[in-house]
């Protein structure tokens, strides 16, 4: 079976999700590899969400929020950025390639940018190949 990367994307309701919606309503063609999860704010994205996504087989995880200064809840995207930087360092230590995890700011009018971002990330993941995390774990097989 040929490899089709899966991207799990957490998009904030107010900017990024609306931007993704715009990409759709403008009938832009972009890679169908993304699975979007809408959250109220990028500040809601807990490290657990990202780790769980990888554990359950996501080849890439994308977090998108409003541009700095534009967060509907003022500070959420800054909180997100700080956590993101930390988890990025952790994920890197765990041997998951840095490019599999991205944080980008998308405004409600940036449908085009969103489509390009998904295309770009899909391309990168195609080059990287499937995430190796499940293969390196015997854990699942031990308990009958």
């Amino acid at each position: 079976m040929s490899y089709r990367p899966t991207i799990v994307a957490f998009l904030c309701n107010w900017c990024a999700y609306t931007g993704a919606d715009l990409a759709g309503t403008s009938r832009l063609h972009y890679a169908p590899n993304i699975r979007i999860i809408r959250v109220m704010c990028s500040g809601r994205v807990e490290p657990t969400f990202i780790l769980k996504a990888f554990q359950q087989g996501a080849d890439g995880v994308l977090v998108c929020g409003c541009h700095p200064g534009d967060c509907h809840y003022h500070e959420g995207n800054y909180k997100c950025l700080r956590r993101f930087k930390l988890i990025q360092k952790y994920v890197d230590q765990m041997g998951i390639e840095k490019d599999r995890l991205r944080l980008e700011w998308i405004s409600a009018s940036e449908g085009q940018q969103f489509a390009e971002l998904v295309n770009n990330m899909t391309k990168t993941l195609l080059l990287l190949g499937p995430v190796k995390i499940q293969r390196s774990l015997e854990v699942q097989h031990l308990k009958q």
């Binding site: 807990e46 657990t48 909180k79 995390i133």
Partner: protein, 327 residues
Amino acid sequence: MSDSSIPNPKIKLAVYWGSACGGCCVSVLDTHEKLLDIVNAADLVFWPIAMDIKYKDVEAMADQSIDLTLFNGAVRNSENKHMAEVLRKKSKVLVAYGACAYMGGIPGLANFHSREEIFKRVYEESESTLNPDKVRPVEEFEVKEGVLKIPEFFNDVYTLNQVVDVDYFIPGCPPQSERLVEVFTAVITGIGLPPKGSVVGALEKTNCDECLRKKTDNKVIKRFYRPWEIEDDKETCFLEQGVICMGPATRGGCGVRCVTGHSPCRGCYGPPPNSTDPGAKMMSSIGTMIDADSPEEIDEIIETIVDPAGLFYRFSLPGSILGRKVL
């Protein structure tokens, strides 16, 4: 051995170590004079640190004939796995006792490496190794008396629950002995035992809720320090002094004993209820305390956390969401 004329027959108790340091077994002895109460209420049927009973004797016991087994240590090799399976079968109640059985513990840090990396280091590269032929241990070796066998060393370290079904978990490295007495009493009386799968002998709150150091809600951190880099004022919350303390991501129950002794908590009691991954919880808490808005400044601050993976998952790597380093 139980005498039917005694109305309350003694319960049968086993204590076993998998991949462990021995500290958990010692913590059982640390119940001091309460140990006598335990011995009064229980027949110890198997306890390798204290009694000479062979595996084959345990294998010969009837299924479900042990009332309570405290299994400490992680599962690192096929011997640990075999005994976990045997004891699961023979025991009515199987408890993962201590951080290693519960989350993988210190031996679980080996999941940052592969079996090959570990063998290469130990049998070829370490400063004290002289092994020009690069001899490695083999699982089976033929001698004229027969075949010698040693256990298989797994690539991964596992928690007990990843290998067999576990009834209860008692956290701690090692668990506080007072907690053991409480749990033991609950098991023999059957009173106050929570549903299967619960963490027992610990609190529902975090260590921060229990900690007496001065703290504010608005923690802001400009840089992190390793404990030896600053002089602890002995009264302000470690995190507020910039020293990473696992308190917010750790279940209470130990009496915050490290912080009381002026050392930051390292998280041996595992994550608090409703969170499965102590590191994720910790990253979530301290991520928001970082006092910077620009990506560069944030990077600089995070640079001062030397080894987040090793620090946040010191006792819990095998039981964490990712479980091991990707190979």
